[in-house]
């Protein structure tokens, strides 16, 4: 079994993984970071999105061993203790979540969208969220949250 070292939310971990272990399974079951969710089996829903070296990916469509040496950020790594990341805060003020199941993937995606394009437009946000399905909110409050989050992230 390959031995991999990953830096997850700033913490270095070395573990053996089976070749077939998905990154999502590794994060949830080995690292016990259960904020990364699995909502589908065809890589459509985006509940599993994490950030690798600043780029978002669907952790259900990747193997853990592919990220040997990488910096992985999950939803658990976004807040600073009890101080929420501005994007998390914006989701909260805008009621950008209901059941919360899609939320980790949504927030990770939103942060990346804004990092790539600080002045992102409403259309840009809507298109940028193409790989993330939310069944609860109708998206509007998510869009508004991303706008506010973007503003806060610009500072």
């Amino acid at each position: 079994m390959p031995l991999i070292t990953v830096h997850v939310n700033g913490v270095e971990t070395t573990k053996e993984v089976e070749p077939r272990t998905l990154l999502s399974t590794f994060i949830r079951e080995e690292l016990k970071l259960t904020g990364t969710h699995v909502g589908c089996d065809t890589s459509q829903c985006g509940a599993c999105v994490v950030s690798i070296d600043g780029k978002t990916i669907k952790s259900c469509a990747s193997f853990a061993w592919q990220f040997d040496g990488a910096k992985i950020q999950t939803i658990e790594g976004l807040a600073n203790g009890t101080e929420l990341h501005p994007m998390q805060e914006a989701f909260r003020t805008h009621h950008g979540l209901q059941c919360g199941f899609c939320t980790p993937g949504m927030v990770m995606t939103a942060v990346a969208l804004v990092e790539n394009n600080p002045d992102i437009s409403e259309n840009g946000i809507r298109e940028g969220l193409e790989g993330n399905i939310c069944r609860c909110t109708g998206y509007q409050n998510i869009i508004d949250a991303v706008k506010t989050g973007a503003k806060a992230m610009r500072g």
Binding site: P2, E18, P19, R20, L22, D41, T42, S43, Q44, G46, V49, K55, T56, I57, K58, C60, A61, S62, F63, W65, Q66, T109, A112, L113, G128, E130, G131, N132
Partner: protein
């Protein structure tokens, strides 16, 4: 998922010899097709030969009249590349319309072309732009590359290393997305160079294809009016819950007209 072993070569030669040594090896690029397939237990390779660390398989370069894209270049990189945007904007747009941001951050052009999904976007560009697929052993012209549904001219263990895209005078890609997968229900790439026009259609049939009648008509007059309804017979097109073959035939005409209109500017 079934069990398999992994091999992480760092040169093309090593990748090839590892492939030959494996009982039933398979290359792994971005994994955005292969991993979902493995999860569904639809494939059972003995070994995955990871191309990620193979030197010289990634990057974009422009030389004179050609854009060359190495096999492991991610969709995101093609979409954001300034040279691609300047030389073949339609190609950058196509890459930017594949799947979603997360998929684009992993998926590669080589993987897409090798896989030849009937609804994939890149094959339309490769065919319409008359690209050349360079492998570890030869060069294959686009016209000879896509041979059938999920089938290509690649031999067992043949590795795509890069794709050369001749820069056209004008080109445009129009995609009518499947509402569920967002792959192409119908995708049309129209490319014009010198006195030649090529029209490649993906999503509509079992495999990407060109349409000679439309190409002829557009060579006569490169304008949307040249495309008449019914130029494409529906008979050989795909039919599924999202679109019947008749509707696909209709969409092809509409998408080609729109592509030409955009290319004309």
């Amino acid at each position: 998922m079934y069990e398999f072993d992994i091999i992480t070569p760092n040169s093309i030669d090593a990748a090839k010899s590892e492939f030959d040594a494996a009982e039933d090896g398979q290359f792994l690029a971005g994994g955005q097709t292969l991993i979902p397939v493995l999860k569904q237990r639809l494939a059972m390779p003995s070994d995955l030969i990871d191309l990620e660390h193979v030197h010289g398989l990634s990057g974009i370069s422009a030389s004179g009249d050609t854009i060359s894209i190495k096999a492991m270049t991610r969709h995101t990189e093609v979409a954001a590349d300034h040279e691609v945007q300047a030389a073949i904007p339609a190609l950058a747009k196509l890459a930017n319309g594949i799947g979603d941001m997360h998929v684009r951050n992993r998926g590669t052009i080589g993987g897409s072309i090798a896989n030849n999904d009937p609804a994939a976007d890149y094959p339309a560009a490769v065919l319409a732009l008359h690209a050349t697929i360079v492998t570890d052993r030869r060069e294959i012209l686009a016209d000879h590359f896509f041979t059938g549904m999920f089938e290509t001219a690649l031999e067992e263990g043949e590795l795509i290393t890069e794709i050369h895209f001749p820069i056209p005078e004008a080109a445009s890609y129009m995609k009518f997305a499947n509402p569920a997968t967002r792959y192409a229900l119908v995708g049309v790439m129209v490319a014009k160079s010198h006195n030649n026009v090529r029209v490649a259609i993906t999503g509509a049939g079992p495999c990407v294809f060109r349409d000679a009648e439309m190409e002829q008509a557009l060579m006569g007059n490169f304008s949307p009016e040249s495309i008449k309804d019914g130029m494409i017979p529906a008979d050989d097109l795909n039919t599924d819950i999202h679109a019947s073959r008749e509707y696909r035939a209709h969409l092809i005409s509409v998408m080609v007209r729109r592509a030409v209109a955009e290319a004309v500017g």
